[in-house]
């Protein structure tokens, strides 16, 4: 790929999807776009760029953007957020919700299911601490195709070896030939729904924990701010927002604040959350704590 071609694709992706590639992501472009080019009968990146510049390239534009923005996902991706979930988030929730004994979690970019299932496995591993609790995990994604895969919970041998400890594979999956399917008990913990984050999501209700990782990077500043502000309305006053390693609210909105020493973890700012949800935000958690005593 020539530097000119790379620069063209960088700008093209920035304009069409907000995806902002750094100067050294040639390998990423090649690994994602060469298979696509081959399928479309295009000889290489050079010809692909020519086709994109030409008229009537609508379908190609869409598939290039999709190929570049579809995220690689694997179990317990990045590890640290799931450690936070186990060691910080859930212990606090278990205390704060001891009265109503229920927790609602939203995976806002649930993709092919690895993230919601990783959370489901983490919750199972907590064992007795959650006995009798009502656990709700809602996994949403833009793509129906991706949701179908998530729902089925069937993964290739390659996929189950990314991020998943072997003990968990043995405990929570059933082998069928060359594939592995997550157990029905864990599948039943998750509701899968199609959702575009650009659209209204108030109907989903209020959550204790929102995982929204590696999806906002594809949006421009204003859209990010808009989504953060709307997320703030769907989160309990003492809830948690979890963002991807390369994402932050800092400099964008004051509806959330980072939790010190817990990278990727945010809490709604009391004042702002109260303003967004005058009746609920302040009172609900206090009631729950009192009821727990």
């Amino acid at each position: 790929m020539t530097p000119t071609e790379y620069e063209y694709l960088r700008k093209f992706l920035r304009d069409h999807s907000g995806l902002d590639l750094s100067a050294d992501k040639q390998y990423l472009i090649e690994s994602r776009l060469l298979p696509l080019a081959r399928k479309a009968g295009i000889s290489g990146i050079g010809e692909l760029v020519q086709k994109l510049q030409g008229a009537g390239s609508g379908a190609l534009v869409t598939s290039v953007v999709e190929a570049m923005t579809t995220n690689e996902t694997f179990f317990f991706r990045d590890k640290v957020p799931f450690d936070h979930f186990r060691d910080t988030i859930m212990p606090e929730i278990i205390k704060a919700r001891a009265g109503r004994r229920s927790v609602r979690i939203w995976c806002a970019a649930g993709s092919t299911g690895q993230e919601p299932y990783s959370l489901a496995m983490s919750l199972k591993e907590m064992g007795a601490a959650l006995t009798g609790w009502r656990v709700e995990i809602i996994a949403t994604d833009l793509s129906q195709e991706v949701l179908e895969k998530a729902k089925a919970g069937i993964y290739s041998q390659f996929e189950v070896q990314r991020g998943l400890p072997i003990q968990m594979l043995m405990k929570y999956f059933k082998q069928t030939g060359e594939t592995w399917q997550i157990n029905p008990e864990l599948r039943a913990m998750i509701q899968h729904r199609q959702l575009n984050l650009l659209h209204d999501f108030a109907q989903l209700g209020t959550f204790d924990v929102i995982f929204c990782r590696n999806v906002l990077i594809y949006f421009d500043q204003d859209t990010k701010i808009n989504i953060f502000n709307r997320l703030a309305r769907q989160i309990e006053g003492d809830g948690f927002l979890v963002l991807g390693a390369a994402e932050t609210v800092v400099g964008l909105t004051d509806t959330f604040r980072p939790i010190p020493e817990r990278r990727g973890l945010y809490k709604p700012n009391d004042a702002r959350a109260a303003a967004a949800k005058p009746a609920l935000a302040g009172a609900a958690p206090r009631v729950a704590v009192m009821a727990g005593r």
Binding site: V80, Q157, Q161, R162, I166, Q175, E178
Partner: protein, 128 residues
């Protein structure tokens, strides 16, 4: 530098594994069967063993049993790396003292993930 003993009867697999592990900053030694691997371990135990199952002379499972009984033999992290991809074999390996299990074919990402899983490399390194 941490050390890893790669045990596989295929010289091609050993070569690929060596390249990946050297990329992860391991000092690599090789053995072509369990018995040769045991000789290496009797001399000096590595930090990690990447272990094939089916090999001539002594298979990987038998080797692991002998190695675990050496003084300090409970220390090395054993990661199986084999075409035996069924639940029975995995369960047998784990109960016999394996720390992780890779089903072939493998690549750099899988090795990095599994090595991070058992604490042989920092998690961040596996994400690259």
């Amino acid at each position: 530098m941490k050390t890893c003993l790669v045990v596989d009867d295929s010289s091609v697999v050993r070569k690929i594994a060596r390249r990946i592990l050297e990329g992860l900053e391991f000092e690599v030694t090789e053995a072509e069967d369990g018995s040769k691997a045991l000789e290496v371990c009797q001399h000096k135990l590595p930090d990690a063993v990447l272990l094939d199952w089916n090999m001539p002379v002594m298979d990987g499972f038998e080797f692991m049993g002998h190695m675990r009984r050496l003084p300090g033999g409970d220390q090395p992290k054993v990661v199986f790396c084999t075409t035996e991809n069924n639940v029975a074999h995995i369960a047998q390996a784990l109960s016999g003292g394996a720390n992780e299990y890779i089903m072939k074919p493998f690549d750099k990402d899988i090795i990095a993930d599994k090595f991070a899983e058992v604490g042989l490399i920092p998690v961040g390194q596996a994400m690259v």
